[in-house]
Structures are given as C-alpha cells and as structure tokens.
Assembly symmetry: C2
Amino acid sequence: MAKSGYHHGNLREALVSACLRLIEEKGPTGFTLSEAAREAGVTPAAVYRHFEGRDDLIAEAARQGYEVFADMMEKAYGANHATALKAFEATGRAYLSFARQFPGHYVAMFESGISIQRDPHLSAVAHRALGVMEKAAMNLSAHIPADRRPPARMVSAHIWAMSHGVVELFARGSPGTKSPFPPEDLLETGVGIYLRGLGLIPADK
Amino acid sequence: MAKSGYHHGNLREALVSACLRLIEEKGPTGFTLSEAAREAGVTPAAVYRHFEGRDDLIAEAARQGYEVFADMMEKAYGANHATALKAFEATGRAYLSFARQFPGHYVAMFESGISIQRDPHLSAVAHRALGVMEKAAMNLSAHIPADRRPPARMVSAHIWAMSHGVVELFARGSPGTKSPFPPEDLLETGVGIYLRGLGLIPADK
DNA sequence: TGTACATCAGTGAACGCGCGTTCACTGATGTAC
DNA sequence: TGTACATCAGTGAACGCGCGTTCACTGATGTAC
C-alpha cells in the first residue's frame, strides 16, 4: 500500500501485528517497544503517536483477541445444535481452535499479566467472551437433576481449566516434553470423560 | 550468620532465594540478574562465581523445585492408602499444595520457558516427579475394564492439565478476575467428576 | 600457640549496548478557495 | 485545474539509565608447619 517512506498508512495495526508476532516468539515480557517498532519498520518514537507505551500496545492486542475469541465462541455456540450437549462441546472445540489459530492473542489475553480491568473496552469484550462459556455450561447443567447439579459457574471453570491446561502444557512445545497425544484428542477425551461424570453422556457410549 | 562484608557465606542459596522471590513478584522474565544480585546484597559480578548467567540461575531454581515436588508427590503417593483411588487423589492434592506453597518454584518449573533437557540433573529430577503422576494414573486405571480403559498417560495428562489450569487461572489473581470458588474445591470437585466419568466412583456418591 | 602462605569469594571500575522517552523538525496528504 | 495552507504521522538526535560481562584487585578464611 502507501508505504512511501514517511506516512506508513496503517501503523497502528502494523504495530499490533508486530507485537503479536513477538509475543508468539518470545513471550509476553520477552520483547521491547523498540523491537516492535523496528519490526514495523518505524522509529521507536513513532509508537507514541498511537499508544501510550508497551503495556497499552499489549492491551490492544489482547482486546482484539477477546473480540475474535468472543465471536468464535458465540458462533460455535449459536449454530443450531440438536442438544445442549452438542452446543457445549462445540464451544470447547472453539476454545482450543482459537488458542491454536491465534497463539499470540491467546498469550496476550491469558498470560501477559495485563489486567482485564485496565480499561472499560477491554473489560466489556472479555466479559462477553467468558459469558458464552458460562451460558453454555448453564444450559448444559440444566439437564442434570437439580439435587446433584454443581453450580454452572463451576462447570465452566472446570472446562476452562482443563482447556487452558491442555493448551499450556501440551499444545506448545515449551517444557521440552513432547506431547504424548495430540492436544485436540486430549481435550476431547478429557471433556468427554468429565461430562460422563456429570451423567450427561451414557456410561457405555 | 557470617555476613561480614566480604564473604557472604552462602551466596549460592541466597541468589536462588532472591530469584524465587523475584519470579513470584514479577514473573520469570520480569527481572534481571543485577536485580537478583542486589536482592542478595551483592555485586552483579559476584553472581558469576556461582552461575553462568540468568538462565542458569533460573534452571537451578527449577531443579530445586522439581526436587521438592517429586518428594511431595512420592510421599503423598507412597503413604499407605486403602485404594488406588485414594492414592491418586492424594497426589492430586499434593500437586495443588505444592503450587500454593512454592509459587516461585512452580513458575520456574512450568512457566519460565527453560527446557527440561538443558542439563541431565534437571532432566532426571523432572522425570522422577512426573513419573509419580503417571504411576498413580496407571495403578488407578488398572481398575477400569480393559476394553474401555484410556491409556494411563492420557489419564495423567488430563489430571495434570486440569490441575495446571486451576493453578494458572484461579489460584493466582492474575487476569483481574476474582476466583469464583476456592481453587482447592474447584480441583477436588473437578477431579471427582472426572473420576466418576471413568467409572471409578459410584454415580450417586 | 603463632606465623606464613595459598585459596578463593566478592569488589568496584570499566566497557559498550539498547532501552524508553522527549523534542523540535520535516515532509506527505488533504482541503479551501 | 492550480495554488496556499493546515494538519499530523513519522524522523532523528539527544538524554540519562540500567543492563550484562570482563578484569585486576583485595581481603577474609583455612591450613601447613
């Protein structure tokens, strides 16, 4: 496009992209503002035209991530499913799929240490995303006899924990351990066993 | 003790402690070698008497963490339990308990990005620790009818994922979200439901 | 018990480096007439 | 269509700073006799 020396054209987005690439490569604290600027082909000082500093840049990356995440979750959940169970499983798959497709965003959102409350935009979109998980869990647990039904927020917390754990431990090569199983399988079977434990899947299926 | 200006007495350990405190406070990449030296009351140059550099220091912290972790897991598992199930549950509790008691070590081990293979000592002790989890899972799944028994390594991966997820998402205040439930409860109920799904706990218990 | 000497843990000065942030500036773009 | 001018995104030089790493050194400790 218009990359004629002066006037980058779309520097704001270019910086976010650079930030995401660097997060993917070196982790959320492993890069500098100057590095991001360099990656976008621009002087460090130019960054200040668009962001207040490094944290602000990461927060924007996280915000965009939550936006995409919320869309994916809503879409997965909203497609008309035969049962609440199917709908729930679809959101579980969407979670992992997001983490795989957008690792930089994922890290910015859940591992960068930026607070969800740092600005209202970020907070709003984060709640939209996490709300889908909870709603899916709520509808699902409505099928469990009321007297031994765990709170919906707890069910969603369990699933979230397992998903996050699979992503962190097995969907990245980080701890030098090779994953014993494909992360998709690991999550699918894990959630399956869990749901069977809730009495939502017949024991012999 | 002997902190008479020159000659610290036990600088190596003091540096590891400083490193752990800093990891707890600022994350695995959020501090510098000089900061650790300052925290131990010593010139940055003194660090090189004991470690090759920052990574080497973190690796030592992780190594010590794995050592303690392995001990705790072995002790929890080895206490004579009535059933394989009890033994398994005990190791699960030990995991969370370790993460709570030694957050700095936990981060150094699982979130610092240092490879388990960087030196043989580290690798050996890490395998000792992770081996306990696997053995517990193996003994446990021996109680499941062979034809619908998932591989033991998969069971231990599931439990590990859920444990790690609970620690990351709910046992720290990081993402600005307040935990909806105490992490201990979350893990205990989550694992309970999972085990019921495996057919190891009666459905109405 | 006392003295001479080897060992070695920690010092502090020095280096070159990249960082974040500021500032007055420059030059491309858009707009009014 | 052409010109004058306002806007504003990006420059580049400058600053002070803390970093990692090296080096010859110093002085406390342990040991041999």
